[in-house]
Symmetry: C2
Subunit: 140 residues, 2 copies
């Protein structure tokens, strides 16, 4: 019989400070918006600069067509199946398309793992950030 | 100088057969729907039974209140930051709330890592499944 710490499976609300720190440790976010057919979701490589979430897209993407100027939700999580410990953060904001000539220098190097030219940057101006930590099987 | 295989960063469309097989290998999905305030996303523990995606929720959750009978999107991905290889699958379907007494026996054991009683099951009847594989730095 294994010990089951009291904390196992506990969900704790994260402070926004911790949410931002965790967002800086991950590489992949899922961006959701309300599209022509309802909810839509895509995974993206993202980064955080000066309190905004940034990612890249193409000028002809569904996202660029549907989500520009709109409310979007950005979800990031890291949960280890072995320990069942982890966290998730959800950001709500407004998506603004930005031409690459107009982005801060530090963003030019934002890496996108799939091939292809993504001439547009998307800046999500954040309205809300929330997150939860899940405590795992060994108290982790 | 490292070798960069031609496949690095290539995105390939997955067959639906492969999408279903990959869905059976993961534990966490992100479910998106159109809520009262726009797009909403939550991470869930899920499983696949007989061509439907199942997860659990509470009777008083925002999801139960807003998404019952509605179109939802379920996103699952696994991407290794070290190799930059991985895959993502997106399922579009209709969410039906099911009381626990009415679910197939094999679902009673559907594990949910966070604590708490989730008396409702959600069955997503799938309309569309699509996915992409991302080839990584070593041809993986």
């Amino acid at each position: 019989m294994t010990t089951r710490p009291d904390s196992e499976g506990r969900l704790a609300t994260l402070l926004s400070y911790d949410c931002w720190n965790l967002l800086e440790t991950a590489h992949i976010a899922r961006v959701a918006w309300v599209g022509a057919e309802g909810a839509a979701v895509v995974p993206v490589n993202y980064t955080v600069v000066a309190g905004a979430v940034w990612f890249r897209t193409t000028g002809d993407s569904t996202f660029a067509r549907e989500a520009s100027g709109q409310r979007v939700v950005v979800e990031v999580d890291q949960i280890d199946p072995a320990t069942r410990a982890g966290w998730s953060v959800v950001v709500v904001g407004t998506a603004e398309l930005v031409e690459s000539r107009d982005v801060p220098d530090m963003l030019i190097g934002l890496e996108v793992w799939p091939n292809g030219t993504r001439s547009l940057f998307v800046r999500v101006d954040v309205h809300e950030v929330s997150g939860r930590r899940l405590y795992g099987v060994d108290g982790s």
